[in-house]
């Protein structure tokens, strides 16, 4: 690269040279698909037809009539609003548990991280094995506790299938929250919390006014990351229920996959993708402002 030849003055183009490849890749993988699907979403392409005639807002109008789509969004939201706070609270409680000295603390922490480093699809598969009515251990344990044989169809029964998904989700991602919050809590200035305690402040008050403000920047990011991940949840559900029974656990990611790759509704899927991006942008912008991440 000739740019390097200029020795003493920082080359004017250097800063562009080094950022260009990354930006190029992001444009190719991130932006190109967006533009492409925007164009396609106004056409009528499906499995059998490559009808590229202009369909106007047809596909977008379909979105509003498509109750399965809105249900899938509702399911996504349901999983998110249940799993996220649980992960947060559990993670925080665990972080407090391990904050002070504890024998074999490091080993415990290493073991607790295991679920997080397992591939989500494997996590889903594992829980499917655990939840099996006959050969899985969970119903066996429940049967022992209940003192009689319990047949719980975790992946079929509509009232059990959400708990099943959420168990799996919490099992896998609470340790992630735990690690982040443990690190954040360790960085809180001890003298301040001790001072508050000496003043007679309750644990809750101390947490609310001393600890929380200190860990909030980290916590907010963790919530955002997990929130986004939950919004696109796919693997765990794919392994556990594939969206069933019926379409009762179909999330937006599963639904878009079904439309795109099982039904081959090219144009309609593109419209769904745009709806998702739009919603996400709105929600994220709001959340980021609300959490004070951007002043």
């Amino acid at each position: 690269m000739p740019a390097i030849a200029a020795h003493h003055q920082p080359d004017r183009n250097f800063k562009y040279w080094i950022i260009a490849p990354a930006v190029f890749l992001l444009l190719l993988i991130g932006l190109f698909p967006l533009i492409y699907s925007l164009v396609v979403s106004f056409m009528r392409i499906d499995m059998m037809d490559t009808d590229t005639s202009f369909a106007g807002l047809y596909n977008y109008k379909q979105l509003f009539k498509d109750s399965r789509l809105w249900w899938s969004l509702a399911h996504t939201l349901l999983i998110t609003v249940i799993a996220l706070p649980l992960e947060l609270v559990l993670g925080l409680a665990m972080a407090y548990l391990f904050l002070e000295k504890l024998p074999s603390r490091q080993i415990f922490i290493s073991l607790l991280v295991l679920p997080t480093i397992i591939s989500p699809i494997v996590a889903g598969a594992t829980w499917r094995l655990l939840f099996d009515n006959k050969y899985g251990p969970i119903n066996q344990i429940i049967s022992w506790i209940a003192g009689q044989r319990v047949d719980a169809l975790w992946t079929i029964n509509p009232s059990l299938v959400y708990p099943a998904i959420i168990f799996c989700e919490i099992w896998q991602w609470t340790p992630f929250m735990f690690l982040i919050l443990l690190a954040a809590l360790s960085n809180v200035d001890k003298s301040q919390t001790e001072a508050a305690e000496i003043d007679g402040a309750s644990f809750i008050r101390t947490f609310r006014y001393v600890v929380l403000p200190a860990i909030w920047p980290v916590m907010a990011i963790a919530i955002l990351i997990r929130g986004l991940d939950l919004f696109r949840i796919f693997d765990i559900i794919w392994a556990l229920t594939q969206g069933g029974p019926g379409t009762k656990t179909e999330t937006i990611s599963i639904y878009a996959y079904v439309q795109g790759f099982k039904q081959f509704e090219t144009s309609y899927t593109a419209a769904i993708a745009f709806l998702v991006i739009f919603l996400l942008t709105v929600v994220c912008t709001w959340a980021i402002r609300r959490m004070g991440l951007v002043k």
Binding site: D11, I19, L25, S110, A184, P217, S253, A256
Partner: protein
């Protein structure tokens, strides 16, 4: 309780905490245990009712069949895809981050745009991406998947490395420049060594992201570069769930990550929290 002397109370509390910690560990580790033992069970033990809690003997037949039929090669594919893409993402991401930090290239807007790419749900772009890949002939190629994983990891790498590079004292770089180093040499000899622990931590996570990917691999691979995550799901359904194969394949796919994490452990906690703090 308050009547107890302080150290007794303290001891009781410690015991309670220890007990709770122990229970938590059992709960969180049990599923992993179950996955592992299924992979060692004989078919009789897998289909036993009530379930067998520990196999009578450790046998490797479930693994042997994966190697015999070539299924285990998918772990190799995952390994290639994840490590090569991590390598490129680290290089491209680090120099890009350096540009953002030191030269404020593109101002805040570019940085925000890059990070916003991380928020894009894969399912929104996987379909157009599939069409792009079809058009370019990249479906089911190492190149295609590596390109994708590299690009997908970039926002994260840039985000993280930005934090680490900001921590490097500017004076060090300036004195290197005065000593006659080129910009590239400064990057190579000053910045990278200083950001080493950050590099490791970021690389581990980048590796895990690529390793865990299922959706892209499901859509963009066929036979040549099938990843282990896709292979696992091939055993679902049909006439039976091949539990032994599901478990053995899962374990094979989990071991490399276990090792990576075990070796890199000291960087990880810092990596997670740093990224968050610096974001």
């Amino acid at each position: 309780m308050s009547a107890l002397p302080f150290h007794r109370r303290h001891a009781t509390r410690l015991a309670m905490r220890y007990l709770v910690a122990l229970i938590l560990v059992v709960i969180f580790v049990f599923p992993v245990y179950w996955l592992f033992i299924i992979s060692f069970k004989t078919p009789d033990e897998i289909f036993a009712f009530p379930p067998v809690w520990y196999p009578n003997s450790i046998q490797f037949a479930n693994y042997a069949v994966l190697f015999k039929d070539g299924d285990a090669a998918t772990v190799g594919n995952s390994l290639i895809l994840a490590s090569v893409s991590t390598f490129f993402a680290m290089i491209l991401g680090t120099i890009a981050a350096y540009s953002l930090v030191r030269f404020k290239t593109g101002g805040e807007n570019l940085a925000v745009w890059i990070i916003s790419q991380r928020m894009m749900p894969p399912v929104a772009i996987v379909f157009p991406l599939f069409l792009l890949y079809v058009w370019m002939g990249w479906v089911d190629t190492y190149f295609g998947l590596i390109l994708l994983y590299t690009a997908f990891s970039l926002p994260y790498v840039i985000w993280m490395m930005r934090g680490y590079i900001e921590d490097i004292p500017l004076e060090l770089e300036e004195s290197a420049l005065v000593d006659g180093c080129t910009r590239w040499e400064v990057l190579w000899k000053v910045v990278l060594p200083m950001a080493r622990s950050g590099l490791f931590a970021t690389a581990v996570f980048t590796f895990i992201f690529a390793w865990n990917d299922f959706l892209f691999a499901l859509v963009l691979t066929r036979t040549e570069v099938t990843t282990y995550t896709v292979q696992v799901t091939h055993y679902f359904g049909g006439q039976s769930n091949f539990w032994a194969k599901i478990a053995a394949m899962s374990v094979l796919g989990t071991i490399p990550v276990f090792f990576t994490v075990a070796i890199m452990q000291r960087y990880l906690v810092r990596g997670i929290s740093m990224g968050a703090v610096k974001g």
